[in-house]
Symmetry: C3
Subunit: 313 residues, 3 copies
Amino acid sequence: MRLITYGNENATKKYTPRRAMMYVPGNDWKKINKISSMGADSFILDCEDGVALNRKDEARSNIQKIFQEKMFSVLKSELSVRINSIESGLCKKDLETILKGPIFPSTLHLPKMETKVQLDWLAQELESLLGKNHNIKLIVFVESARALLDMKELIQHCFTLMDQGAPFNLEAAVFGSDDFCADIGATRTPEAKELIYSRQHFVTCAKAYRLQAIDLVYINFKDMDGLLRQSVEGAQMGFTGKQVIHPSQIEIVQQAFSPSKEKIQWARELVQSFDQHQQSGKGAFTFHGNMIDMPLLLQARNILKMADRLDQN
Amino acid sequence: MRLITYGNENATKKYTPRRAMMYVPGNDWKKINKISSMGADSFILDCEDGVALNRKDEARSNIQKIFQEKMFSVLKSELSVRINSIESGLCKKDLETILKGPIFPSTLHLPKMETKVQLDWLAQELESLLGKNHNIKLIVFVESARALLDMKELIQHCFTLMDQGAPFNLEAAVFGSDDFCADIGATRTPEAKELIYSRQHFVTCAKAYRLQAIDLVYINFKDMDGLLRQSVEGAQMGFTGKQVIHPSQIEIVQQAFSPSKEKIQWARELVQSFDQHQQSGKGAFTFHGNMIDMPLLLQARNILKMADRLDQN
Amino acid sequence: MRLITYGNENATKKYTPRRAMMYVPGNDWKKINKISSMGADSFILDCEDGVALNRKDEARSNIQKIFQEKMFSVLKSELSVRINSIESGLCKKDLETILKGPIFPSTLHLPKMETKVQLDWLAQELESLLGKNHNIKLIVFVESARALLDMKELIQHCFTLMDQGAPFNLEAAVFGSDDFCADIGATRTPEAKELIYSRQHFVTCAKAYRLQAIDLVYINFKDMDGLLRQSVEGAQMGFTGKQVIHPSQIEIVQQAFSPSKEKIQWARELVQSFDQHQQSGKGAFTFHGNMIDMPLLLQARNILKMADRLDQN
């Protein structure tokens, strides 16, 4: 049996589906109030690109209030926060406001990850604000040529910090295609041929560490055929979800990133077979005559968790 | 003259064409007995994925017997063995059975190469079984996100071990696309757009070390047009061969990966010109006014060796 | 404000457009005499592949003479020199002849960059010929599997040498696709699908270090539609220019790599806004509500410099 464990992947930890991820500016109550009526898997209250510089304070205190007052306590979707990039100099204040507690978001999005030093800083900042016992979920953004080239080393460094007790748990990586294109001087086209290398290198790095991989935004939100085509393509490449910028994109994206009935059936049988094998306790684990490794078992479990989650909605 | 030598490439060593590589389960006599009537360049007696867990012992002893009894001694094709992955825990017994001699295969296929530690283990195991004087041909499989990302370092480590006397000679790398797709959660499509990055990164790593690069399996073995299209595409990308899963695929694949008459003519003239230059012994070597480097000369020789080999059949 | 500086990028240094780069053999006066009548952004007097081995001396002394006699002193285009690769053994004599001064080219092209040791050698050679005070512009070629895999480290090493006082300034990287294809055994096709990975990895490495990225040659110089298609595609991928092999290719290529009116307008407003902000001297710099980082400002300035340069012609 092949048993590879990179980082602290844990077959029993809760799986959070993030097929459709939607950003909502933290200072825009009109949009915030619509969250309850939309069905994205994950909403991100934004302090970063969606918020003008002179509205940052407002966004921070809104977000803090939203969590303290449990405004979305019955929401089935994940509700998280995107802080400003560490190099912006705005991030420290974001963290201090949003995490002053006692209630705070379970997931943070870190845009524009670039260097190990940034990650060290984040680990220290979170430890001083939360203490070592917390374990906030972390989602990192790759948005530049440099970050893409260094992606393996940067993710590896996150896991090294986690092994050393950093109070976060890296769960996903997001491909920030617009900033990436600006950074390399590329022009977005509908077919996105200019992004084949970057998207596929991104997926390979994310999956090597068993992270969720979130694909680029489809900018033309009136073109549903194009959105469907790009969503299906992303799922075929190995992405697990996609950023959306308009409510009308949510359903198409979620459909494209949902496991098929056949895949759910395969996963159910594999997990049942593994559980029986665990009880009998002998030798390597095989399924339909093939040996099954831990990553594949984890993948099967994630499919079932996502299927369960979809049933609940 | 540009003279780059990575690893121990040797312009005079024998070239083994591996345009079409076919796996035959080591426990399936019906298929084994057909080997003589098929014309693949390379047959691999399989202990790994093609053999169920409770048939491993049978496969091992069959394979050992096949070599001891010289059952395929007149076969023009290469006959080699795929052992189980090192992390499976089954590999040691494979090696002990198959290499107990006095006659054993000249080529081993190592699936699911993942770490340097695995390669260290293999080098030690082979040395303890064969001694330092043997030099078994080694073919490694890249089948996961991690292995693809680390491919350059892993191949480099093979050459480091070879420099230190490890009793193998790395000749080729195989892209294990099905396990790779499962590993990153990708879905195979007929056009294989989802694999452009992985196939081309794979070829680049293999060729940087002057290894043969073996392309993915074309799964739908009834679709000959699709097989031809993908084979030609693979050859254009720089692959030197392709895995086949059905006898009907062999001829199409071999055609696609054979050098053209023009290329053979070019290679013949280049090698002749080099030999003349060696005798006259002056200055840098040029051909049609261009300087020729060692890798290109090696490539020309390999084309001629493959052409010679094809003439013999 | 995000402020990333890789290497010694300098927002105020002069920008040299290199949309169309054309090689002219240093021993071919017929072609050299046509330079004045052609409008490529950059002409390269070639000592390397365009010159047969027994004509190298002639090319060197021609080139030296061209600069000493200021033969092209009124030329608006850049006039530079491609030396032979370091591993050819011919490079030292190239440098000694061409740089013996007092007037010499402002830009050198280094083909077949492969190793850090080569770059160390070049830095020392230039220092001994020019002294530390000179700062010749350097353009490097990536032309092999190995160089592509090591591209990030090799460029990083250039910047390390520059930080240590090496008398060159790395400005651009050129993708030498023909040698690259020969090196990996690939076959060029009109659509160039076989080069998607290599071109896009190349662009990402170049842009991570804010270098100009020069795309492959379009070989069939009679196919203007194909040239236009590939030029536009290259610009979309992030390339800033393209090698040309025939005068008829120049205009199409320059059109494809020129900034659009919209982009020039955007750049002009951004730079104006930044200059005003510098005078008022407060806080982070925003434009249309978004924070602007240094690379983006540099990109805007380069667009304006290119636009100015185009106006002059």
